[in-house]
């Protein structure tokens, strides 16, 4: 067992599960999507991205790319949140909530691809 692989797999799967947790619920209902969850999703995704740095294989490159997409989407979601609550002062209206959640939905898609790639790699290695 390679401890590096454990940590790596842990963070990639955690990124997806947390992302899913934030995503489920009514898309425009702010009560179903908590800001703490978004925070956790952002942090775990950034960590997962950094863990993918420096992998020279083709698989590593695609994994890094999907992670970068996810992080970008989540940063956009966090920015929309901060803008709505603190800058424009509109608060979490259904419109704003829907756009935050859909952005995180996009990130989740990228995370799904990450996990699928991880599974494929594991299956192909057979060790």
């Amino acid at each position: 067992m390679n401890p590096e692989k454990v940590v790596f797999g842990f963070f990639i799967v955690l990124a997806l599960t947390l992302n899913f947790g934030f995503f489920v619920g009514d898309i425009h209902n702010p009560d179903h999507h908590h800001v703490y969850e978004l925070f956790a999703v952002v942090v775990v995704n950034v960590v997962a991205t950094i863990l993918k740095f420096g992998d020279r294989t083709q698989m590593g490159a695609v994994l890094l790319a999907t992670s970068l997409v996810a992080v970008l989407q989540l940063f956009a979601a966090a920015f929309v949140w901060a803008f709505a609550v603190h800058i424009s002062g509109t608060g979490l209206t259904p419109v704003v909530t829907a756009s935050i959640v859909s952005l995180s939905g996009g990130a989740m898609l990228a995370n799904v691809i990450s996990v699928v790639l991880l599974v494929i790699e594991t299956v192909m290695l057979r060790r």
Binding site: V35, Y36, L38, F39, V43, V46, V47, I50, L51, F53, G54, D55, R56, A78, W81, A82, V85, H86
Partner: protein
């Protein structure tokens, strides 16, 4: 190159992860710990403000407690997170900066930039390996003629010298070992516009490796190499290196030419001179009498052989006859003397009193200078050939007043410049070797009548669409354009351009000093010599059809279609009335 980028990324993992985790913990703590607003109501900080607060405390900016003064619990957490984040911040940023300043990383970046620049080259270029004395002289000469050059050198200081030099063209330089194929590829060996590769490093083996690499990876490319020994020369020739230049043989050949026909030698020097140089005077090395050759190294051997071939008596002065192969050469006793040649005794033993020529050809500049000074005291009428090994001693060799100074670097640079710039001149010179001295002297006087005091400009003309549009079109239409037409002034038809056609290459045959009334064909190549202004004037005739038609017919053709219509009417009307 790629390895290093990945390595940098991998090494960035740890600092970035630590930074992310510390920030996350600090932010989360601030959000979870309850505070109080201005009215004493319980209040929770939100993520946005928590991140803002941590960002400015971690970077030690510190704007204070916002939006409300902190409670004791919050302050305790801030004390913890402040120390943690500041330390982690300094550690991470420090590591990242150190990585960016890493020497291998920096080199990888410059190398990548260089390779990218070469890939985007849009004009033909030459690769010069080795930017020493020869390389820099060559790069100067090539850029003066508006040719693009790429330089590789193993010594970083020489590459920086290249960057400081005020060259006419931008010359990308790579610090790298030219013996490694990867560096040659980065310099554009396989680039479709790479015209040639010149190997003039100080090491024979490196030059050999460059030649092999170039011929294997890009066989059609022109390879020009410097070779200092006959074995390496033969090795290079065996796999088709295009030109191999041995400075000593080249010089010895020039000397033989000067001995046989000084006129031809002078002509050669004028035609191969560097632009704006003053015309040099002819030299007459004595071809009867005794020559003393000091030093039987590569240079001495080459000179000695040529002198013997001319039937000239020689005496060799050599200090280490075993090492240089003088014993094995089996020369008779009276033809060589043991010694350095720097002392009067040795020179007198060699017969300096009744000698006519002296060659100071050791590989040590101080010895060469000393030999010449001693010899001139003993016999002031000597014809002196000095070998200069080091560029820095140029002033000394100018001061010693030798008749010919042989400088290997400039000989190689000059020859390569001619090979790359005007290959036809190379052919011209080899054809001219078969002509008499009288022929050469006549040509010399014709050239000097045209150019007065500066070396003539030598240029090539190809009759094709790109280089001679107007002439090419005219020949395609079936018109007759002769060399005499090209030599007509496009501003005044009755005047002649001051230029001499030296060579014409037509359908595989070569014509020295071609006849002027033969008509030109497409694909012809001509070698011209004359003034620089003549060259520009001739360009008009070659490229501009109005200039050409004026020369052919003496009339200025109307250009726009309105005037063409009008002039047609006029000529029709005129013919009608007649």
């Amino acid at each position: 190159m790629e390895n290093i980028i990945f390595l940098i990324f991998r090494r960035m993992r740890q600092p970035l992860l630590t930074l992310t985790m510390t920030y996350a913990i600090a932010v989360l703590g601030l959000v979870l710990i309850p505070g109080q607003d201005a009215d004493g109501n319980p209040w929770h900080m939100d993520f946005f403000h928590a991140f803002y607060f941590v960002s400015y405390t971690a970077t030690t900016i510190g704007f204070g407690e916002i939006p409300y003064p902190f409670t004791g619990a919050q302050r305790m957490w801030v004390i913890f997170s402040l120390y943690a984040t500041v330390i982690v911040w300094i550690y991470s940023i420090g590591t990242l900066l150190a990585l960016i300043q890493d020497k291998t990383f920096q080199e990888a970046i410059t190398e990548g930039r260089f390779a990218r620049r070469i890939r985007h080259m849009r004009e033909p270029f030459y690769i010069v390996c080795g930017y020493g004395e020869t390389g820099s002289a060559l790069v100067h000469a090539l850029t003066e003629r508006n040719q693009n050059v790429v330089v590789i050198d193993i010594d970083p200081s020489r590459v920086s010298v290249l960057q400081l030099e005020n060259l006419r063209q931008y010359v990308p330089g790579l610090h790298g070992d030219a013996a490694r194929p990867v560096h040659l590829l980065e310099a554009g060996l396989e680039h479709p516009l790479c015209r040639g590769i010149v190997a003039v490093t100080n090491f024979n083996e490196v030059n050999l490796k460059i030649a092999i690499t170039s011929k294997l990876l890009n066989a059609p490319v022109k390879v020009i190499c410097r070779a200092d020994s006959h074995e390496v020369e033969a090795n290079m020739a065996s796999f088709g290196t295009n030109y191999i230049i041995d400075p000593f043989d080249t010089f010895a050949k020039h000397l033989a030419t000067a001995l046989q026909s000084p006129g031809l030698h002078l002509l050669h020097r004028w035609l191969t001179g560097i632009r704006y140089q003053p015309l040099s005077n002819p030299i007459y090395p004595p071809n009867k009498g005794l020559w003393i050759v000091c030093g039987y190294g590569r240079f001495g051997k080459a000179i000695h052989k040529r002198l013997r071939d001319e039937g000239i008596d020689t005496v060799i002065v050599e200090a280490t006859p075993d090492e240089t192969g003088l014993i094995e050469a089996g020369l008779p006793e009276e033809q060589w003397v043991l010694g350095w040649g720097t002392e009067a005794v040795t020179l007198e033993e060699a017969g300096i009193g009744n000698a006519v020529g002296l060659v100071a050809g050791t590989d040590n500049d101080s010895n060469n200078l000393s030999i010449i000074m001693t010899a001139k005291e003993l016999n002031p009428n000597l014809f002196v050939i000095a070998r200069q090994n080091n560029d820095d001693n140029e002033g000394l060799f100018n001061a010693i007043d030798a008749d010919i100074v042989m400088h290997p670097s400039s000989i190689i640079a000059n020859k390569i410049r001619v090979l790359l710039g005007t290959p036809l001149l190379y052919e011209f010179v080899s054809l001219a070797m078969y002509e008499t001295d009288g022929w050469a002297c006549e040509l010399v006087s014709r050239v000097s009548a045209i150019v007065h005091d500066q070396v003539p400009e030598v240029w090539e003309i190809s009759i094709d669409e790109q280089n001679a549009y107007a002439v090419n079109e005219m020949v395609l239409k079936g018109g007759k354009v002769t060399l005499a037409h090209l030599l007509t002034d496009p501003q005044q038809r009755d005047k002649r351009i001051e230029a001499i056609p030296l060579l014409r290459l037509t359908e595989g045959s070569r014509e020295l000093l071609p006849a002027e009334d033969d008509s030109l064909k497409r694909g012809d190549r001509l070698l011209m010599c004359g003034r620089l202004s003549s060259r520009y004037r001739m360009e008009w005739t070659l490229q501009n059809e109005h200039a050409l038609s004026y020369i052919l017919t003496g009339q200025n053709k109307p250009r726009g279609w309105v005037w063409q219509l009008l002039s047609k009417k006029k000529t029709n009307g005129a013919s009608g009335t007649a």
